[in-house]
Symmetry: D2
Subunit: 158 residues, 4 copies
DNA sequence: TTTT
DNA sequence: TTTT
């Protein structure tokens, strides 16, 4: 009934931008979030948390975030599950963010930028077939190897 | 660097209470948290989110929470991973809650109770060997089948 | 750049429903949120936190919430300030909630209700001049005595 | 019963560090948090939110935060009230933070620093009477002019 | 493997 | 001005 999460961490890689068959942008990336304590050998571990963003925010993330950058994500925790190729149920957890803040300006130029994303403008890309349009969904947006698509635009929560 | 989550949902089962080899109480349960939208067939789905609590809060959860009850959890999202018996890496996500609120009083009696847990009192159970002491940790506190213990008291974050 | 708050508490009074000159619904109420500790005389104090909701959510709150009911609010903390009649600047803090959960079903009937609000449907009331339409904004939506209106519909954040 | 807030913003001034009569450190500062929308004249306004931190975290904030720096605060919203010198009740809202993250390293040196505070170490300053010890509490930790102290160490929540 |  |  209520599900709200806020994270601050660093991207483990550049974001990946894909499009649904209907041309809706989706970006995925992973934040490394340091734990607030050290383990028994004195090292600080991190949680690696998958983030998904949609539409205009997805495109902003793809444009402005890079591996190593510090970012904040605000959204909801989602637990999906699917059957893998060995017929076993696999659970995937990810944060569906409706708000991402870019906490580092990217030391090359970009002055005047406040480190903010440009809100939640919901632009929808056309079917122009550019170089990114071959990136389509599979069962797990964080998986590399393509499973048949089972996420359609009808699933979109907003 | 910052990791904060708040959930409200219903328990899918009664909590499970276990103890580390050193006698520290741990309770685990799962909250069904309704999604804020319906899917393409008009049904409201839920996310099933694992919760872990420690010490006095664990014992309060075990005492006052039951299957179906409404509860709020406030904590941090943790992603653990371990190698399963087939040598494959499995990812487990869970919310380590430092605050749980009991939002239903349990319609039988219990008047005067405010629906609150009793804070974070950190009582530590002795090694009396009572009927619960055979519940020990394995790799995944949410798994039923016993793997060798790899969580010791040294891991405790607080 | 990021501002997210989640509260659970009890309403100190029934909500108040008003409308902007353009017919947009606004509900205000106060949540008493118990502090997580007791003071030096052993009493648990509470924070009394003003909540504002808009549009369809406002009307749902007015319909389903009552004095004493338990509710959760999720939103953003806003600090407004205005000059009072003595020319002094007054600061008003309130939570602008985009999500409110009704955690008690209202013991009279209402079965089938899940305790949820009906989402964020943004219905806008017409200017029919019914018995509530004389409730208009002043400087402080939580104040009783009418100051000249300075919140117009242009201020609406969504 | 539950009260959790996360903010990211910039300090409007350097933090102020004071001590209670018993030598417990308290730091106060204000975060300017941009609103997620622009007003009717196209300007982005901000909320100016008071933050209070205690003990070791207070001393870290005083040492590492400066006017203009970006920071995240995680805590609880508190609404205090007191009677001012004209016998009028004044309401003060502030976030009591148990976690503050320094999101900018302070471009001078300090390499190797992760931008994190050093946790919640609760050091307590002795009564050495150094140059800061004349900074004592009054009714409102954010007020400049001294009212008689009414916050004693007994009020400390942790 | 899931709750109302 | 405050709720159970």
């Amino acid at each position: 009934m209520l599900n709200r999460i806020v994270l601050i961490g660093r991207l483990t890689k550049d974001p990946e931008l894909r499009y649904t068959p209907n041309g809706v942008a989706v970006a995925t990336f992973t934040l490394a979030v340091d734990r607030p304590f050290t383990n028994q050998s004195g090292e600080r571990e991190a949680d690696f948390i998958n983030i998904v963003t949609w539409r205009g925010l997805a495109e902003n993330c793809a444009n402005y975030l890079k591996k190593g950058r510090l970012a904040a994500a605000d959204g909801r925790l989602q637990i999906r599950n699917y059957e893998n190729n060995e017929g076993k149920r696999v659970y995937v957890s990810e944060v569906v963010a409706d708000n991402v803040r870019f906490l580092e300006s990217g030391n090359s130029g970009q002055s005047g930028n406040n480190g903010n994303n440009g809100g939640q403008g919901g632009q929808r890309r056309g079917q122009q077939g550019d170089q990114q349009s071959n990136q389509r969904f599979n069962d797990d947006p964080f998986a590399k190897d393509g499973q048949p698509i089972d996420i359609s635009d009808d699933d979109l929560p907003f």
